[in-house]
Symmetry: C2
Subunit: 348 residues, 2 copies
């Protein structure tokens, strides 16, 4: 069991306290993609597992890589090791990850193809992910929160339409044209995401994050219809089943529209992309982010200065320290540790 800092009173989770707007013991910290290729111990497990997807669906090994960063660093939360494409995979699309090339997925570009998609509940893929959640939760002390996640409909749909990560233009055209099959796909993803996140919560996830990595592709009514409305529906559907489950909405790259994301009913926090100017932060919200992963590559004084700038800009009771995007491959694990130390120094 990982229980750094545990004491007799079973200390509370700083992450859950900030999300619940209770007094937190400290500014919580976790890093997007914190279990990943920059860690040698991850790469060792990955080799043992076989393919990337084999690792995602192997609960013992997936739980192990979920826990690895918490052995190294004084973090406040673990983020489930999985992939946003688990949902389309569980819906019946073929999926594989070509080494160094990103995902390759069956395309979905017609109403017939949308209608052929299966429900995710009870699929092997979702069962295995939920086993990972349970194993991880059992291994974590009470003050360390376990975060589940899914991709948001717009982002997941953009991969499904393109058949991988090659080009989001096809999805954007379908969105502009309000193609009935595309709208139906978004609606299907809303429903499946609710089931998927609810299953993660049933298995022990204590908070969830909805990742809309490509939200910044859209503006205006398209942002409303394909990013904000579907996320709003997911949050509402999920909270019907898990009223107390905190939800972090990460609509990456939407800039001034983060105000609208923050207003989603039931959203407990919003994630802020690296490019978000913290002086524009809406009042009264809980924000997560937004250290530049490239600052971790730059290292040294850059990390110190950026951590100081961010910690100085946001009240620790209203902030979850994180990156504005996932940790990059090639990041020095020692620099990640230095970042955590710098955060603790800033607030301490």
């Amino acid at each position: 069991m990982i229980d750094k800092g545990r004491d007799a009173e079973a200390p509370r989770s700083a992450l859950l306290d900030v999300l619940g707007r209770k007094r937190a013991q400290r500014r919580p910290v976790w890093f997007m993609r914190q279990a990943g290729r920059y860690l040698p111990e991850y790469r060792a497990v990955r080799e043992k597992a076989g393919s990337f997807l084999d690792l995602c669906y192997n609960p013992d090994l997936a739980a192990e890589v979920t826990l690895q960063p918490l052995r190294r660093y004084d973090l406040d939360a673990a983020i489930l090791f999985a992939d946003i494409l688990v949902v389309p995979h569980a819906m019946g699309l073929s999926l594989h990850f070509a080494e160094g090339e990103g995902p390759i997925l069956t395309t979905v570009r017609s109403m017939a193809e949308v209608e052929a998609l299966k429900p995710v509940a009870g699929t092997h893929e979702v069962i295995q992910v939920c086993r990972t959640v349970r194993l991880t939760r059992d291994a974590l002390s009470s003050h360390l929160a376990l975060i589940g996640f899914c991709g948001a409909p717009w982002t997941v749909a953009s991969y499904m339409v393109a058949g991988g990560s090659s080009d989001r233009v096809m999805a954007k055209i379908a969105a502009y044209q309000r193609q009935p099959w595309f709208c139906a796909l978004i609606d299907r993803l809303v429903n499946e995401s609710i089931d998927y996140l609810a299953a993660q919560a049933d298995a022990g996830a204590q908070a969830v994050q909805i990742f809309d990595s490509w939200a910044g592709d859209l503006t205006g009514t398209e942002l409303e219809d394909f990013v904000l409305r579907p996320i709003t529906q997911i949050v509402a559907g999920l909270k019907k089943r898990h009223p107390e489950l905190p939800v972090i909405v990460f609509a990456r790259g939407i800039g001034s529209a983060q105000r609208r994301a923050a207003a989603i009913p039931g959203a407990n926090a919003i994630g802020l992309e690296t490019e978000f100017d913290l002086s524009e932060l809406p009042d009264g919200i809980v924000a997560q982010g937004n250290l530049d992963p490239v600052a971790l590559l730059a290292g040294g004084e850059v990390v110190e200065a950026e951590v100081r700038r961010i910690c100085g800009s946001i009240d620790p009771q209203r902030h979850i320290f994180n990156l504005g995007h996932g940790i990059r491959q090639g990041t020095d694990p020692a620099v990640v540790g230095a970042a955590v130390d710098a955060i603790r120094r800033c607030d301490g």
Copy 2:
């Protein structure tokens, strides 16, 4: 000579009137990358020219492709056909464009390599571009403005550091670290850009645009130091030599910081990226943009609706209709014409 709409009084340029805050006859329109691969007549000239760079440095053919879109569409301005990498090429770096792969450039990553860069004034590359400017200007009627351009230091430097378009992370790390060679490179690009734009103005360019395509990579003090300050210096240096020359600053992707770009002394207009929310437009400025090039791929009603939305959001006396990014290959030339017609209908 291209003189659509010309009458006996030698009508004024709507583009120059809006930039000069004089009463314009109509909302001016031009499109970024309007001379390009989506036009069959461009592809015909391109085949005749040889390589892409051969075309850039062939004044007769480059002037011809600069003029082609004005033969097809009722536009208000021509944009010089050239490339933002003319400056590093003229500074002595080797450059070629691999078909379908983008530019390949000698890298610059040390003070010695910065110091070895040559001044652009009087180089073959700049002379040929200026010949294109002169030929184009001579072929245009007075109401059609000719726009010259350069890449901004941050964007051009990011290609020089990477040796092409592969990855801007190296430039970003150098910026964060305030590497002396990187700061010196930015300063060199400021000075060379002034000379290059002044030469274009001498040759007949009536307005210039500074393209900072990757400005959105940076925020905070990095945005200030490597995007806004260098552009401010270019505008100041250029206006010393050409006080009346209008300058359009296009710092793409900086969102709420467009307000800061608009405040650059001597900037006559700012370009707005597609992702910029027009409801956030600062008061009292002249803006250019921001139709999504993907809307042109979506075509039909999407173009109509987007044109109506943009024209309805900005006063035609304070707006230059344009895209938020360059026209995409594969765009139907008829849809570009339909967009121009839609703009005229909106205001008419």
